[in-house]
């Protein structure tokens, strides 16, 4: 029986830069940062202090899991902005939107009302996009004439 999602992968272009972005700009905490052996794979994970059982592993595309051609393709997709990494939630979308924007996070959309909550959209420092959502209390609101 599957019990939940524990770790999800985000492909980043540079782990040092990503670590700085996810902690100092987004306010997540580092859970693990270790390298397996000399010159081995660096295992870097971050997560929200409020949600100890879910984390993101920030991986750089490359071997041995990926051949050089595939790694280059993934890097290109990330840099082009084609990949989305998921939805992050907040209990103060307007305050956090301002806070993150002031820290230099690139937003693609300011907070907008949606049937499921208030949603903004930003990119991480590599180019992955995230939805940033404050879920609507009381569930979906389908009474309004929703456009974009």
């Amino acid at each position: 029986m599957i019990k939940g999602l524990a770790i999800s992968t985000v492909w980043v272009l540079d782990q040092d830069r990503a670590k700085e972005f996810y902690t100092e700009k987004l306010g997540l905490e580092v859970r693990t940062d270790m390298t397996m052996g000399e010159g081995g794979m660096r295992w870097l994970t971050v997560g929200s202090p409020d949600q100890p059982d879910v984390e993101l592993t920030l991986m750089v595309p490359g071997g041995p899991a990926m051949d050089p051609e595939s790694a280059e393709m993934v890097r290109k997709l990330v840099a082009k902005g084609a990949l989305g990494a998921g939805v992050l939630t907040t209990d103060d979308i307007h305050g956090d939107y301002k806070k993150l924007k002031d820290r230099g996070v690139e937003f693609l959309q300011e907070p907008q009302e949606r049937p499921y909550g208030t949603e903004a959209l930003f990119r991480d420092d590599s180019g992955n996009w995230f939805s940033f959502t404050q879920p609507r209390e009381g569930g979906l609101d389908m009474d309004q004439d929703w456009s974009c």
């Binding site: 690139e106 949606r114 456009s147």
Partner: protein, 144 residues
């Protein structure tokens, strides 16, 4: 990868500011830090269409969304998505979708995707596809 990142910033500017009728090629190119001529070529190489085509594509896609879901007139939608002329808007819309805005609405009304996270809808529709009904004539008048 820095060059790709610069181009992405320009694309993001169009995804963010598509409603602004004053969003022109120079403004968009400045986001990428490119000269306009070099920018058009580099953008097309990365995203498969010129910045002008991309912006039209984004505005038409937003118009489709409004036609499906919002109780607004075609003229209102035309201006909301950044076109200043209804004639140009309708012609471009037909080139992209194969239908006039009114025909499109009649066919798709009530089938809006408000429950799909808006960001997924916007990013899915951006950048990497050819519109049905878009032929060679798509290039005319949109070179930038």
């Amino acid at each position: 990868m820095d060059k790709t990142r610069q181009l992405r910033l320009a694309k993001d500017a169009m995804d963010r500011d598509w409603a602004d009728p004053g969003l022109d090629l120079d403004t968009v190119a400045a986001h990428a830090g490119y000269s306009r001529y070099h920018f058009i070529r580099a953008f097309k190489e990365a995203y498969g269409e010129t910045p002008g085509q991309y912006l039209t594509h984004r505005r038409i896609e937003r118009a489709e969304d409004l036609l499906r879901t919002a109780n607004l007139s075609v003229t209102e939608i035309c201006h909301l998505v950044g076109f200043s002329s209804v004639g140009t808007f309708s012609a471009r819309f037909k080139t992209w979708t194969g239908l006039t805005p009114s025909e499109y609405r009649a066919k798709h009304v009530g089938r809006g995707a408000a429950l799909i996270p808006g960001c997924y809808a916007m990013l899915w529709a951006g950048g990497f596809r050819s519109a049905p009904g878009a032929g060679k004539e798509r290039n005319s008048g949109e070179a930038g």
